[in-house]
């Protein structure tokens, strides 16, 4: 994860009103929170789609765990599973990817090709057949899941298998949910977009990524989600992640440049077998860059002892105004991070720039 890849991701997700992705081994917790995140943040005009979306997220997610070989030990940073939900215009996408044994591919392919060719009444018929069939295989009647998904989307289920080695492949599937009452006229995004994002997320060791509106209201549910999903790390790491996120996300909601009334931002949590990284990106007015740069360079030039002294002085004297409390937050970040605060400003136009930063711990 670098300040520059944060910008690359932002570009890839530029059209997304909200998007959330998770890579690693899954627990139901992730699912609960991801569905909650979308429930809380889906715009009002899509209210009728909420339940359907939750349903599809759950089906898709359970499909991953059904086909994934779950005997392996859960680790934080494997590439065996990937899950993503995106809202672009008036359409929602639920993308899943998981490792599958190559010898299971023909069976899965056959089921998907079958449901993709059937019309509504044929799907209903097949659904009833599978439902009453007592010989459903021990993996839990995955066929039923596919039928449900395709019935709810009223479309096809794009899928693909990307070979990993001679034993396993990555199985990608995408569900598209359109609001039938609103047609945004946007073309569907292709499955290759999802494959590109998954590959980049894996390459950059990113565990969790969110893009959306970082106004005050949006920060709370996100923190909650991160908190609930970090239960398998130590309390110490858990607290640090939470601490960094609060400071950084609140900074975005307070100081970022609002495009069309939204404090657009992106955040990522990464883990590279040794260290955690948090990265964020948001827009900032060009006129604010110099001050922020000075502040960042100041905190980066100091030792931990100097930063502690500075922080303690501020605690008693409180010379920092409300808008300047960003200073206290940055001092705090700088003294906790194992490295300097890495940052980059990428000029977008004469008014604003993209500001990204990463911290390591």
């Amino acid at each position: 994860m670098t300040t520059n890849t944060i910008y690359q991701f932002y570009r890839l997700l530029e059209k997304d009103t909200i998007s959330f992705s998770y890579r690693g081994s899954f627990s139901n917790n992730v699912l609960t929170m991801a569905t909650q995140l979308f429930k809380d943040n889906v715009e009002e005009r899509h209210e009728k789609l909420r339940n359907k979306l939750s349903f599809l997220m759950i089906e898709s997610f359970q499909n991953i765990s059904r086909y994934a070989d779950s005997e392996e030990e859960i680790s934080l940073d494997d590439n065996s599973e990937f899950f993503m939900t995106r809202n672009i215009g008036d359409t929602f996408y639920v993308i899943s990817a998981n490792l599958i044994d190559n010898d299971k591919i023909p069976m899965v392919r056959e089921k998907l090709e079958q449901v993709n060719t059937l019309d509504k009444s044929e799907l209903n018929k097949l659904y009833r057949e599978v439902l009453t069939n007592k010989q459903i295989n021990e993996k839990g009647g995955a066929g039923l899941g596919f039928i449900e998904m395709v019935r709810k989307t009223k479309g096809k289920l794009p899928f693909d298998f990307v070979t990993v080695d001679n034993k396993q492949s990555m199985f990608f599937m995408q569900i598209e949910l359109r609001n039938p009452k609103i047609d945004d006229g946007l073309p569907s995004i292709s499955l290759s977009d999802a494959k590109q994002i998954q590959a980049l997320v894996a390459q950059e060791n990113i565990l969790m990524m969110h893009k959306g509106d970082y106004s005050e209201d949006a920060v709370g549910p996100m923190l909650k989600m991160v908190e609930e999903n970090m239960q398998n790390v130590s309390l110490k790491i858990h607290k640090k992640i939470f601490h960094f996120l609060v400071e950084i996300l609140q900074n975005i909601s307070k100081h970022s440049y609002a495009l069309n009334g939204k404090h657009e931002g992106i955040f990522q949590i990464g883990y590279d077998h040794k260290n955690f990284r948090i990265g964020t990106g948001n827009f900032i007015l060009n006129s604010k860059i110099e001050n922020l740069k000075n502040l960042l360079n100041m905190v980066n030039s100091k030792t931990v002892d100097e930063l502690n002294a500075l922080y303690r002085k501020y605690l008693r004297e409180g010379k920092i105004t409300n808008s300047g409390s960003a200073g206290l937050g940055l001092i705090d970040l700088a003294r906790e991070t194992l490295d300097k605060i890495n940052y980059e400003f990428i000029k977008i136009n004469n008014t604003y720039s993209f500001f990204s930063l990463t911290v390591k711990f």
Binding site: G220, K236, V246, L328, G329
Partner: protein
């Protein structure tokens, strides 16, 4: 005597009990409010009034699992108000509680103890079982 303050905790703000009659002074939970000044002003005003005629012994408890940097400043303001109590001939003590294993809360307590002029004790309590 000021009416007691009894605020329930929310997802962003701590539980606060300030009750002179019952001798309970406590801030517990998390404080990640975005505008802590607005949130803490009534608390600050209450304590400012209280220190004019404090109890013989005030035991102020902080049990904060988490606070953001702008809340840190407000917590310090409260501590600096409490520092005025000894001049009235009364006693004051701060208990800073943290859950076992929560190094961050302990370190934050150590730091505030370092900059405060109060009788300040840092106490660990056992982690909750899940």
């Amino acid at each position: 005597m000021s009416e007691p303050i009894n605020l329930e905790k929310t997802k962003n703000s701590p539980e606060i009990i300030l009750d002179k009659g019952a001798s309970i002074f406590k801030i517990a939970g998390r404080s990640i409010v975005e505008d802590p000044k607005d949130f803490y002003t009534p608390i600050y005003n209450w304590i400012e009034d209280y220190i004019k005629a404090p109890l013989k012994a005030t035991n102020f408890v902080f049990d904060l699992e988490y606070f953001n940097s702008s809340s840190a400043r407000q917590i310090m303001e409260i501590i600096m108000l409490l520092e005025k109590i000894p001049a009235t001939g009364n006693k004051v003590k701060v208990d800073w509680l943290y859950e076992e294993g929560d190094e961050m809360s302990k370190e934050r307590g150590d730091e505030i103890k370092l900059v405060s002029k109060l009788d300040f004790e840092i106490k660990e309590y056992p982690a909750e079982d899940f």
